[in-house]
Structures are given as C-alpha cells and as structure tokens.
Symmetry: C2
Subunit: 195 residues, 2 copies
C-alpha cells in the first residue's frame, strides 16, 4: 500500500497527483490518497506562516522555473497561479469526504488542475461545486464536508501527519517508511513491492 499525503497549496503535490495513479498501477501497489494541511506543520516545526518559497525569494525563483521544466518533462500543464499559496482548508475538507467515493481521486486532480493549470480560486465554494459537478461527484459533498461529523477529519489527518514525521508535501508512506517529494515516488514503490 502506498499512501500519498498532499496539500492542495503545494505545486509539487499537483505533479504527484497527476502521475501517482499510473505509477502505482504499473507497480501493482494499492494507493490511498490523504489530504492534509502543511501550514500548521510549517508553523510548528519552522515557525513560519508563509510558503518557504515566498520567504526565500532565491529558492522561490528557482521553484517556479523548476515547475515549468517539470511540467514539460512530465507533460502536465502548469500555469503559475496569481495567488500563492492559496488557502487549501475548504478544498481539503471536501476532499476528505470525496475520497470516500470512487470519484474522489478525479476530484482531487480537478482541484489541483484548477489551482495550478487554470489559476482558479480553489478557496471558493462555487469553484469547488463546479469541480464536483465536472467529475460527476455528489453535490452534497460540499455541505457534508463542513458538517460537524466530517469537519474534523482534516484536523485529525494533519495531526497524524505531524506524528508520523511529515514536514513537506507531497509525502509518501509505505507502512511507517516516509518518502518526501515527488522524486522519491519510484523509491517508495520499490519499497512497497519489497514489503
């Protein structure tokens, strides 16, 4: 089993979401998608309340260039969003519920594309409703995601990520073995096959 832990605000998580399903299928490894929030983890471990890519402009300039190049290499469309990072709380809450359904991964990819290929405002409930409709999802998911019995799932996921040593996104787990970043996807799948 491969777990993909992602944050909708993270551009490298977008690339992971685009490639992980085919890669896991080729490796014959089952896949679990898990949204979480990186913000509270950055705050707790590094004391920062913005993306490290904004706080270190030299690294930020590199990242945007790297993302363009990776987009070309992977054949995945990418447009630098006009707002970065976009607040991912609502989208992630909806994804927690959406992933109970078979169309969940389609919704996850649609949210990532909205943010990182179409520059749409994924903090907007109207945009998320559009995306739910576009992937054939249940329109009630949006209301359900903010209802008391589901709202807490994202907070618990973020606590679990913290407990398991996650410090960035995307992160992959195979059992307790953590692999950070899209560049470790192959290593994670090899680990899963040996496990």
């Amino acid at each position: 089993m491969l777990e993909l832990w992602f944050d909708f605000a993270s551009p490298y998580s977008y690339f992971a979401a685009e490639v992980v399903e085919a890669a896991a299928a080729r490796a014959d490894v089952p896949l679990r998608w898990q949204p979480f929030l990186l913000g509270p983890i950055f705050q707790a471990t590094q004391g920062i309340s913005d993306s490290p890519f904004n706080l270190n402009p030299t690294r930020g300039r590199y990242m945007w260039r790297d993302l363009e190049r990776q987009s070309a290499r992977l054949g995945v469309p990418f447009t630098r969003p006009t707002v970065f990072p976009r607040n991912s709380v609502l989208a992630a809450r909806v994804a927690c519920v959406a992933l109970d359904a078979a169309w969940g991964p389609r919704f996850v990819r649609a949210v990532f594309r909205a943010n990182f290929a179409e520059d749409r405002d994924i903090t907007s409930a109207a945009v998320l409703a559009d995306l739910l409709a576009a992937v054939g999802g249940d329109a009630a998911t949006l209301a359900l995601a903010t209802a008391p019995e589901h709202k807490d799932r994202l907070r618990r996921a973020t606590e679990e990520a913290t407990r398991r040593g996650v410090f960035g996104a995307p992160s992959f787990f195979v059992g307790d073995e953590l692999f950070f970043g899209n560049d470790r996807l192959d290593a994670a799948l090899d680990w899963a096959r040996k496990a």
Copy 2:
C-alpha cells in the same frame, strides 16, 4: 557542459560526486567540478548559521534515513558522520587548486568518502594530506591552497554561486540554467544535450 557545484559538508553532494562522472560520460557531456561554501549562502538568504537539517529535527531525522536508503539504491557506502556539518573551508580551498590537475576529481571523491563513509575529520590538514597522497595528488597542493594567490578562489566561487541563484547543494548548471539536487541530474544532462 555540466557544472557540478558542491560543498564537502553536504551529504547529497557526496552522492552527486559519486555518480556524476559516469552519468556525464554516458550523456557525452563535459563536466566541470566547482567547490563552494553553502554556509555564507544559508546565512545571507535564510539567516541561519547551522544546517537546516539540524535546525529542523523532523526534517533532519528524515534526511539521515533518506541518505541510508539512497546509499543502498546507489550502491554508495554511507556512514552518518559523528560531526555534522563539518567545516569544509580548508578542504574546499584545497579542492579549488586540486581541480587544476587531472587527479582533482579523485581528490574530491576521496574527501567526500572520508567525511561521509569513513567519518574522518576533513577539517584536518593531516587528513587532507593523507587523501592527497592516496589519490596520487601533489603534496604541495595543501600549502598552495592557503597561499595568497589561491586562497581567494573559494570566496570568489561562493560569490559567483550567490550571484547565479544557488541556494543549496549539490547544484548543477547548464549555461545559466540551474538544477538543484541530485534528483535533477538527469534533467540537467538532458538539458545539456538539447543545448
């Protein structure tokens, strides 16, 4: 032409140094080795005076585990050094001069192995003299490296790295195109072939 910019204190630079020559030869791309100091860049861009892996223990724990796994994947021996990061100034000054000679890359790999496979103190002139002898290098290199006409080369290299947008190690350049991290070596070589 592929440029490898490395710091002897950086464990991922060690892996780059172990694999870059064969990879560049396979791609038929000429290679230039360039030592520099990451410390002043971390200080200037992030205001930190220790390794980010020490300052963020969660990330640090991950890094040591990742290095073990990468060691196994690459077939490159790795032992966690008892001192991290080791001050790389003297070794890098010697490397600046050593790389004028054909045995320079052998010396660079010997220093990295001393630090990251043999846990030897690469801040020691005696250790560096040993390594020079082991690779068939010129024993006079050590004295030459700290002589006025050569001592400044490392400082100038670090200034150049800063000017060109380097923020970590290893970094690869193909012309002005920067690729950060060992995981971008293939992308850098592809870029060099297309250039």
